[in-house]
Amino acid sequence: MMIDNPYLPIKTEVLDVIEESSNIKTFRLKPESLLHFKAGQFVEMSIPGKGEAPFTPSSSQYEKDKLEITIMKAGRITSMIHSLKKGDIVGLRGPYGKEYPLSEFEGKEILLIGGGVGLAPLRALFLALVHDIEKYKNVLFCCGSRTPSDIIYKDCVLDKWQNLDKKRVKLRITVDRKDDSWKGNVGLVTTTLDNLDINLKNSVSIVCGPPIMMKFATFKLLEVGYKPDQIYLSMEKNMSCGVGKCGHCRLGNFYACKDGPVFRYDKISHIHEIWD
């Protein structure tokens, strides 16, 4: 008797395609059978007969009937994904990897800092935290984008989330370069870490974004007073199988797909290639 085949994708329908920015789209998907992911885990999404790529769902892990993935057009598979329309069929398998350890965040002041499409995994985390907000002291979500038009989840970031829970949920938003109508902060996302009103002894920070953004955000967090075991990163690596076998995503003694993609900084800071 064959054991379960981990390479087999589930038939999935594209329910909706939302344009977030000029090169980022959110895909609302309905897999044939439920895929119960936890924030921070990833799935392998395939264009049938063409190939697969790993993505972290950005919807709430508590929403049972749909799954959202926010994808930037960056290469061969993502270009094909960006041509998808409502009703198209794709494949999904997963969830794989280690989720954000929510139980370790309980009672703490949580700082999320994300850049560009890095907001996608953080959105799943943010929605999970907000779902049970009374378990956490408070949440500060720092969002950075290149320009105002590059901000993803615009209606959430600029409006909805700002009014969720004025006492416990705060946002700091910045753009690298403004446009004519931008009235908000201008500066790299690391500038949102200036003048934090946080008791660092009871805080954790979760970072996600392009490698260079994660590197400088991590260094700034350390400068501001966070310890390496208070910082969580989502490590992006070339993946093929997603289940710890093909060897592509090896990071030191870890596989990003099996032992990550969420890693606590103190566990990986000694690995030479983490920022490459």
């Binding site: 390479y7 049938p48 290469g75």
Partner: protein, 342 residues
């Protein structure tokens, strides 16, 4: 486990009987090398059970170079029932590679069903080496030139026949089923043990020339050379052909590829090489191992550092196939030796 004696005609009878239930492969000689060939009901013929390892590792019997691992969004095509595979003449270095393969493919969670099925239904009849090859260095990293683990039946060859050792309940069951072909091994044990001792000593003498660091200091020596320009020197003649990855019994990395086939979609698993430029490159263009020297170092990192930490063994069996296969004449013994030099 139990020890028996079987003479050559009886071994041939055993093989002919096993060919009813197994697809049997044994090494045959061509151009002074050994290659696995399917032998059927005609028996062993001029198969070479002793001597040294075959040119190919046995990994392609367990995870082929290119194989379909999923067919999706369509009606399943029925799979032809095939006889399980039996391999005769497997050497100690090949058996050592199972430690790596089992760790990668058969460990929870997400066991690879194709590999697991082949491991469970396959039959391994291994054999002692009776001499060594020029590039062999198994003893330098703690692997003996005679099987000690991971076999169903082992054959120690000498002039009169073979001492057969059962290494698993599957092997024991086969011996019991054909017990009339076997006799007591008592009279021959001394000969076999002295053959093994002599070969081990001869091989130890041979590898002395290569000056490979002691097994327990290899990992430390690698770490000490991490930032050295040794890797640029090693990679100088590398042409990124991937031959070392293909021929190595312990190399196991692969890539998944999807294609359309008629009305259905197929997912293929194909051997991949970490020495190729795009192995670790991400879609956005970033590449943690842009330079060939970094990729060369990474291969040694995985084999002599990662696996030592993860399974307590090297991802190398000391078989020397990579040295034979490399068109750039990169010799793994030389690289290991340089790790301990200043």
């Amino acid at each position: 486990m139990e020890l028996y004696f079987i003479n050559k005609p009886n071994l041939d009878r055993l093989v002919k009987n096993l060919s009813k239930t197994y697809k049997i492969f044994a090494p045959v000689k061509a151009d002074n090398k050994r290659f696995y060939k399917e032998i059927g009901e005609n028996g062993l013929g001029d198969s070479v059970i002793g001597e040294i390892r075959a040119v190919e590792a046995i990994k392609s019997f367990y995870f082929p170079a290119r194989t379909k691992i999923a067919e999706y969004f369509s009606k399943k095509t029925s799979n032809k029932e095939e006889k399980p595979i039996a391999i005769i003449g497997v050497k100690s270095c090949d058996l050592a590679s199972f430690k790596v393969m089992d760790y990668v493919y058969a460990q929870e969670p997400f066991r690879d069903p194709f590999y697991v099925a082949k491991r469970e239904e396959g039959l391994i009849i291994s054999s002692d080496c009776t001499c060594y090859g020029e590039t062999c260095f198994c003893v330098a990293i703690g692997i003996m030139p005679y099987p000690t683990e991971n076999f169903d039946i082992n054959l120690s060859e000498f002039d009169g026949g073979y001492v057969a050792e059962s290494g698993s309940s599957k092997g024991e069951k086969i011996i019991k089923e054909y017990l009339e072909l076997f006799q007591s091994a008592e009279p021959y044990m001394e000969k076999i043990n002295s053959n093994r001792k002599k070969l081990k000593e001869d091989l130890l003498e041979h590898v002395k020339k290569s000056d490979i660091p002691p097994k327990d200091s290899v990992q430390g020596a690698f770490k000490s050379k991490f930032d050295s320009n040794l890797w640029e020197d090693v990679a100088k003649t590398c042409v990124e052909c991937g031959a070392c990855n293909i021929i190595c019994p312990a190399c196991h990395c692969f890539i998944l590829m999807d294609q359309k086939n008629g009305n259905s979609f197929e997912r293929l698993r194909m051997w991949d090489s970490c020495l190729l430029m795009s192995f670790a490159r991400v879609a956005g263009g970033a590449n943690p191992r842009k330079l060939l020297a970094q990729r060369m170092r990474n291969r040694f990192d995985k084999k002599f550092n990662f696996f030592f930490d993860t399974i307590g063994r090297f991802g190398c069996t000391g078989c020397g196939r990579c040295t034979e296969a490399c068109p750039g004449k990169i010799d793994i013994r030389e690289v290991l030796s340089k790790l301990q030099k200043s």
